[in-house]
C-alpha cells in the first residue's frame, strides 16, 4: 500500500468506526494485536474489504494496530457496549453448557442443582437504529468462536432486513462460523452458492419464507403465520438434532416490534407470536427504557427481560439509504458482491472470500405465461381492518392467495421481485389445501425483467439455470431494476 494508507493504534477495548459513502470502499489490515469486526476476528496481514456504504467498527479487546485506506468518516471511540455484550455472551454460554450437560446426563455439582438447563433462546427488540442486528451478530459470532461446536440458529424476523435471502423474506439459518461484515448487501453472511467458500457463513443454508413487504403493518397476519411456521420447523429440527438444540437461537426483529405508532395490538401480537413460536426465554431490549418496562410487565414473570446498552456508533439511517440497501441485497443475491478495492490494494478478501469467488452469474430466461403460476397474498393495497366501516368485511382477506394474470395490464409484474415456492412435500392432491401457499418455504427469488403480452411470454432473471414450469411464485411489494 502506498501513500494513501495510514495506521491506527487502538487501545484495549476501543473501536475504530467508519462510514462509507456510496461507491467508496475501504481496506483494513490488521498489523498486530487482536481485532474483530462485530465479533468476527480478523486474521493478521490480510486486507479486508468493505464497501456499499458499509458502516462498521473494528473493535479490539487487547489493543492492536491496523492499517487502512482513507474512508470518509472515521473516528476512534472509547465508549463501547462491548463489555456488556461480552457479559451477555458469558451468561448465554453458561446456559449452553448447562443444557449440554443435561443432555449428556453428566453429573451436576450440588451448587448447580437448581440452575435451569434451558439453552438461550433470545429475542432482540429495539427501536429503529439501535443496532439490533449488530447485537445479534456479535452474540452469534462469539458463540461460534467458543470452540465448542455450537451452531446457534439465527432468525431474521425483520422483513426489511433480508438477511441471507432478500428483503421481504423471513428466514432462519444455523450458523457454524463467524459472520463477516463487509457490506450491507450481506449483513448476516450469505446464502450458499455454487462457488467454493472459505467460510461456511458465506454458504449458509437458510430456510426462508416470503412475506413480501418491508413493513410489518402491511400484513401482520401473514407475518405471524410465517413466524409460527418457522417455530414449528425449528422444533422439528430440534427433535432430530438434540445437541444442536443446546446452542440456542437468537431472533432479530424489526423496529416496528418495539414502537408502532398505530398498530399497537399487532405489535403485541407479533411479539407474542415470536415468544411462543421460538420458545423465547430471554428478551434483550436494546436501549429503550419504556419498552423494557412494558416487556417486563408482560413477560417478566416467566422469562428474563434485560435492557442492554446501545452502541454510540449506530448511524441514523434514512429511508433512502434503506432503499439503496435493498438494492444492494438483491444485487448481491443475483450477482454476488463486487466491491472495487481502493487504489493500491491488489488482493483483498471480501467477507473472508477471495474477490473472484463471490461474483455470480444469474440466468435470464424467457418463459411462457402459463409456465409459472403467480399469486399475490391479500389485496394489492389494503386498509387495516380497523379502518373499514363497522360491519364491513374485506372482499379479499389478508391471507387469501389471489392469482395474478401477467397478461392483464397493471399486473404490477414488471420488475417485481417474486419468490418461487418450494414444491410441497406431499404431492398427494388430497393433502392440498387452499392456504397451502402461505405455508410453503421458498427456494429463491426471480425478477420479471420483461413482459411480452402479445406473445404471452415474459423474461425473468433467475439466480441460476432451471425451469419454472409448474412452479408457483408469489409477488410482494418489492421491485428491482439493475
Amino acid at each position: 500500500m502506498e501513500g494513501e494508507s495510514k495506521e491506527w493504534t487502538l487501545d484495549p477495548e476501543t473501536e475504530y468506526r467508519f462510514e462509507l459513502d456510496p461507491g467508496e470502499s475501504l481496506a483494513v489490515k490488521l498489523i498486530h494485536g487482536h481485532a474483530e469486526v462485530f465479533g468476527a476476528e480478523l486474521a493478521a496481514n490480510h486486507p479486508y474489504l468493505f464497501g456499499q456504504e458499509c458502516k462498521a467498527a473494528v473493535f479490539t479487546w487487547r489493543g492492536c494496530t491496523i492499517e487502512m485506506s482513507h474512508p470518509s468518516t472515521e473516528y476512534v471511540s472509547e465508549e463501547t457496549p462491548m463489555a456488556a455484550y461480552a457479559n451477555l455472551h458469558i451468561a448465554f454460554e453458561q446456559m449452553r453448557v448447562r443444557a449440554l450437560r443435561d443432555l449428556r446426563g453428566s453429573p451436576v455439582p450440588e451448587y448447580e442443582r437448581d440452575k435451569p438447563t434451558d439453552p438461550p433462546r433470545v429475542l432482540v427488540l429495539g427501536p429503529e437504529n439501535s443496532g439490533k442486528t449488530t447485537v445479534c451478530k456479535i452474540l452469534i459470532n462469539y458463540a461460534v468462536r467458543a470452540g465448542q461446536g455450537w451452531s446457534p440458529l439465527l432468525i431474521n424476523a425483520d422483513p426489511a432486513e433480508g438477511g441471507w435471502a432478500a428483503p421481504g423474506a423471513i428466514s432462519v439459518a444455523p450458523v457454524h462460523s463467524p459472520l463477516a461484515t463487509c457490506s450491507p448487501g450481506s449483513p448476516l453472511g450469505t446464502a450458499a452458492t455454487s462457488a467454493p467458500t472459505a467460510l461456511s457463513s458465506n454458504a449458509l443454508l437458510p430456510l426462508a419464507y416470503w412475506y413480501g413487504h418491508s413493513e410489518t403493518k402491511r400484513n401482520p397476519l401473514l407475518l405471524e403465520r410465517i413466524v409460527r411456521n418457522i417455530g414449528e420447523n425449528i422444533n422439528d429440527k430440534y427433535q432430530v438434532d438434540l445437541q444442536g438444540r443446546t446452542a440456542g437461537l437468537i431472533v432479530d426483529t424489526p423496529a416496528s416490534f418495539a414502537s408502532g405508532h398505530r398498530s399497537n395490538d399487532d405489535r403485541q401480537r407479533l411479539i407474542r407470536a415470536c415468544v411462543d413460536a421460538f420458545k423465547i426465554n430471554t428478551i434483550l431490549v436494546v436501549g429503550h427504557e419504556k419498552l423494557n418496562v412494558e416487556l417486563n410487565r408482560n413477560y417478566g414473570s416467566h422469562l428474563t427481560v434485560v435492557k442492554i446498552p446501545k452502541s454510540g456508533g449506530v448511524v441514523e439511517l434514512d429511508h433512502l439509504y434503506r432503499e439503496r440497501v435493498h438494492n444492494y441485497q438483491l444485487h448481491t443475491y443475483f450477482y454476488g458482491q463486487r466491491v472495487p478495492p481502493p487504489a493500491g490494494i491488489s488482493s483483498a478478501s471480501l467477507g473472508g472470500e477471495t474477490l473472484s469467488d463471490i461474483i455470480l452469474s444469474p440466468s435470464s430466461t424467457i418463459i411462457n405465461f402459463g409456465d409459472l403460476s403467480i399469486f399475490r397474498i391479500g389485496a394489492e393495497s389494503m386498509a387495516p381492518s380497523s379502518a373499514l366501516p363497522i360491519g364491513a368485511a374485506r372482499v379479499v382477506s389478508e391471507t387469501q392467495a389471489v392469482p395474478v394474470d401477467p397478461a392483464a395490464s397493471g399486473s404490477g409484474l414488471l420488475n417485481a421481485v417474486l419468490a418461487v415456492l418450494a414444491q410441497p412435500a406431499n404431492t398427494d392432491e388430497a393433502e392440498r389445501y387452499d392456504e397451502e401457499i402461505l405455508d410453503l418455504p421458498i427456494m429463491g427469488f426471480i425478477v420479471v425483467t420483461n413482459i411480452d403480452i402479445p406473445l404471452r411470454k415474459m423474461t425473468i432473471l433467475a439466480p441460476n439455470q432451471g425451469s419454472f414450469v409448474g412452479r408457483t411464485a408469489v409477488i410482494g411489494s418489492f421491485e428491482w431494476q439493475e
Partner: protein
C-alpha cells in the same frame, strides 16, 4: 514427565478393549487429566509408591488414566510383579464403585501387554473377580460379565486370556456349574443372554466398520431373533446349542474380524468410514448424489421392509466360512413352535438396523474439552440482569484468545491448543486446501446462487457437515440421514472406479452414452496410467460408473443402447449444467416412484441441456466447461435423462 502426547503415538494393538470403543456408559464421567508422573524410577520401592499413587487417581472410568497406567506398566514390565500387587490390593481396598475401573485397567494391561502381565494376574484373578462380583451392584456385574466374555479370546492368539482354567473357574462362579462349554448341565438364561448381547455388539461393531458386510448384518438379524427366543424361554438343550454356536461365532469374530473402528490411541472418535463426510467434501450446497438417484442399492428401508424369514435362508449360505449355523438353529427352533413364523422377525430386524445406524458414542476428548470449558465458563458469576451485565468484567478475553491459542492464518478462526483442538484445526486447514484447489480448478467459470434447501433437508441438516466445522459424526443422526450417508459412500465407491484409457486414444474425446458428458482423463500416479475416473467398461462401451449404476436399475441403459445412434447429439454448445443445490438430497423414494408430476419437477430442477425452455442463456460466458465439470462429480444431465425417459410415452 509422562504426558498424553508422548503416549499418544504408541499403538494399542488389541482388538478387544471394550471400554475404548464400545459403549458410552463406560465413559460417562470424563476425569481430570492424568497426573504428571516422574520420568525415571529405577528403585522398586519408589516405583511401588508412585504406581500406588497413580492408581489412587483411578476413581472413575477414564481412558486417559487407564491408558497412562497401562503405559507405565508396559514401560516397567520388569516390575510386573509390583504392578500386579498394586492393582490387586487396590481393587481389594477401594469402595465397590471404584472397582470396575481398576478391573478395566487390569483388562487393558493384560490384553495390550500380554507378557508378562497375564501370567502375573492369573495368579489372583479368579478369587479377585469372584469376590468383587459378589460385592458390586447389578449394573457393574453385567459390565464385569461383558469383560469376562472378552477374556475368552483375549490373548494375542485369541485364546483364553488367563488360561482355560481361570476362565472356567470364574464363569462357573458367575453363572453356576453349567457355564463352561465342556461341562454342561444347567445353563442359565441370563448367561446365554449376556453372551448373546456380547456377540451382538461385536457383530454390530463389525457391521459399522464395514457396512457392506452382509454376513455380519445377517448375523445381527438372527441374533436379535435369537434373543427374543431366549427371552421367551427355551429348553436347556437349546440353550446349550445356542451357547455353542455363539461361542464359535465369537471366536471366529475374534480371529477373523476386525480392527476396531478406531485404534485406541486415536484421539478422536470412533467414526466408521461410512459416517464420515460424503466423498466430495467441499461442496456443501450441492451434495452431488441424491439418495433418490441410486435405487440400485437397497436402502435401509427396503431391507427393513423385508421380513427376515424370507431373507435369511437365501443369504445364509453365503455367510462366511466360519460355518456358523445360526440360521439353521433358528429355523429348528421355529419348527418346534418357539417362534411364530412371521412374528418377531420383522421387528427384530428393524431394531437391529436402527441400532447400527446410530453413530458411535462421542469421543472422550471432545467430552473432556467441553467439560473443562464448562467448568471455566461456570466460574464466572454473571446474572442476566440489566444491572449485572453492565458491571465491567472482561472475562471474555480468556475464552476468545487464551483458551484458543491456535489460529488459522487464512480466516482467523481459532482452535484450542490441545490434541483435540489440533485435530479440528487440521480438518479446518484441510477444508481451506480443498476449497482453494476447487477455486483454482474453477477459474474462469461462472458461479451462481443456489436455491435454498427444502424443508426436509433443512430439518435434517443433511448438506452441512462438510465445511470443516469438525463435528464428524458426533451428533445423532436419524435413519434417513444414515441412508443418505450410506448412499454418499456408495457414490464415492462408484466414483473411485476407473477405466484405463486405451493406448493412443488419450486425445480422443469419449462421452458417456447415458449422460453424453465427455470423460475427463487423469493420470494415475500409482499405476502410471491415464485413466477415466468414475467409469466402467460394459459391452465395450465406457459409461460413467454412477450413470451406469442408475441406468442399470431403471432399465434405461437397454433403451439407450438401442437409441444410441439416433440420440448422439453434440453437447458442445449446451449451456453449462449446474446442479440444484437445494433439491439435491431428496427423499430416497422419489426416483423409484416417479409420477409424472415428480418427473416434471425433476426436469425443472435439473437445467435442461436439450433446453426445454427456449431462450436460456448465461449472462457470463463459460469459458472452460469441459475441464472442470467432471471434476465436480456426477454429470447432471443424467438426472434429466432419467426423468425424461420416465416421462416420455413408451
Amino acid at each position: 514427565m509422562y504426558s498424553q502426547q508422548q503416549y499418544g503415538v504408541q499403538p494399542f494393538p488389541h482388538q478387544q478393549a471394550p471400554y475404548f470403543h464400545q459403549q458410552p456408559p463406560y465413559y460417562q464421567q470424563p476425569p481430570p487429566p492424568p497426573p504428571p508422573v516422574a520420568v525415571y524410577q529405577p528403585d522398586p520401592v519408589s516405583f511401588r509408591r508412585d504406581y500406588t499413587n497413580h492408581l489412587a487417581e483411578l476413581k472413575v472410568n477414564s481412558r486417559p488414566i487407564i491408558q497412562n497406567l497401562s503405559m507405565i506398566a508396559q514401560e516397567f514390565s520388569r516390575f510386573a510383579d509390583i504392578v500386579a500387587q498394586c492393582i490387586e490390593s487396590h481393587i481389594r481396598r477401594v469402595p465397590q464403585w471404584m472397582k470396575l475401573p481398576a478391573f478395566y485397567l487390569l483388562d487393558a494391561i493384560s490384553k495390550n501387554v500380554y507378557e508378562p502381565y497375564a501370567r502375573h494376574f492369573s495368579a489372583f484373578v479368579v478369587p479377585l473377580f469372584l469376590e468383587t462380583y459378589g460385592q458390586v451392584d447389578e449394573q457393574t456385574r453385567s459390565k464385569m460379565e461383558e469383560m469376562l466374555l472378552t477374556w475368552r479370546t483375549g490373548s494375542p492368539t485369541s485364546t483364553f486370556l488367563f488360561g482355560p482354567g481361570s476362565q472356567n473357574a470364574i464363569e462357573r462362579g458367575v453363572w453356576g456349574d453349567g457355564a463352561s462349554a465342556s461341562n454342561s448341565n444347567l445353563i442359565s438364561t441370563a448367561q446365554v443372554l449376556t453372551e448373546l448381547e456380547f456377540t451382538l455388539s461385536q457383530k454390530e461393531r463389525a457391521f459399522q466398520t464395514n457396512p457392506y458386510d452382509t454376513t455380519s448384518q445377517n448375523h445381527i438379524i438372527v441374533l436379535h431373533q435369537l434373543r427374543k427366543l431366549v427371552e421367551a424361554g427355551v429348553s436347556q438343550d437349546e440353550l446349550q446349542q445356542i451357547l455353542t454356536q455363539l461361542r464359535s461365532l465369537a471366536r471366529a469374530a475374534a480371529t477373523t474380524v476386525v480392527q476396531p473402528p478406531v485404534p485406541v490411541t486415536t484421539p478422536v472418535p470412533a467414526t466408521p468410514a461410512s459416517w464420515s463426510a460424503p466423498a466430495q467434501p467441499s461442496y456443501p450446497v450441492q451434495p452431488s448424489f441424491p439418495p433418490s438417484a441410486s435405487p440400485m442399492y437397497p436402502t435401509y428401508d427396503t431391507v427393513k421392509a423385508e421380513p427376515p424369514t424370507t431373507v435369511l435362508p437365501s443369504v445364509a449360505p453365503s455367510a462366511s466360512g466360519s460355518s456358523i449355523d445360526l440360521v439353521g438353529l433358528l429355523s429348528t427352533l421355529k419348527k418346534r413352535g418357539y417362534v411364530p413364523e412371521n412374528g418377531t422377525p420383522l421387528g427384530a430386524g428393524t431394531s437391529s438396523l436402527e441400532d447400527v445406524s446410530k453413530p458411535e458414542s462421542p469421543p472422550d476428548l471432545e467430552r473432556e474439552s467441553s467439560r473443562s470449558y464448562r467448568d471455566a465458563i461456570l466460574l464466572h458469576d454473571v446474572r442476566l440482569t440489566t444491572m449485572d451485565i453492565t458491571r465491567n468484567r472482561p472475562g471474555i478475553v480468556e475464552f476468545l484468545y487464551d483458551r484458543l491459542a491456535a489460529q488459522c492464518k487464512q480466516c482467523g478462526i481459532r482452535f484450542p491448543d490441545t490434541t483435540f483442538g489440533k485435530k479440528h484445526m487440521e480438518g479446518h486447514l484441510d477444508m481451506h486446501f480443498q476449497q482453494n484447489r476447487k477455486a483454482n480448478q474453477n477459474v474462469g467459470r461462472g458461479h451462481s446462487r443456489s436455491w435454498f434447501v427444502g424443508l426436509e433437508d433443512w430439518v435434517h441438516d443433511l448438506a452441512v457437515d462438510v465445511k470443516g466445522k469438525g463435528r464428524e459424526g458426533a451428533r445423532p443422526l436419524n435413519a434417513k440421514a444414515a441412508a443418505a450417508a450410506a448412499n454418499a459412500q456408495r457414490d464415492a465407491d462408484l466414483r473411485a472406479q476407473y477405466v484405463v484409457v486405451p493406448r493412443g486414444e488419450e486425445a480422443k474425446p469419449v462421452a458417456c452414452p447415458i449422460c453424453k458428458e465427455p470423460f475427463k482423463s487423469e493420470f494415475l500416479e500409482d499405476d502410471e496410467e491415464w485413466v477415466w475416473r468414475n467409469a466402467v467398461l460394459k459391452d465395450e462401451r465406457v459409461y460413467h460408473a454412477t450413470c451406469h449404476a442408475e441406468a442399470a436399475q431403471s432399465g434405461l441403459a437397454l433403451r439407450l443402447r438401442s437409441d444410441l445412434a439416433a440420440s448422439l447429439r453434440s453437447h458442445s454448445s449446451t449451456p453449462e449444467i449446474r446442479p440444484v443445490g437445494s433439491g439435491a438430497v431428496a427423499a430416497p423414494q422419489v426416483l423409484t416412484g416417479l409420477k409424472s408430476s415428480d418427473a416434471s419437477l425433476r426436469a425443472s430442477l435439473s437445467p435442461s441441456p436439450e433446453s426445454k425452455l427456449t431462450g436460456t442463456k448465461r449472462k457470463v460466458e463459460d469459458t472452460d466447461r469441459t475441464v472442470s465439470d467432471e471434476a465436480e462429480g456426477t454429470p447432471r444431465a443424467k438426472k434429466l435423462a432419467l426423468a425424461q425417459a420416465d416421462q416420455s410415452p413408451q
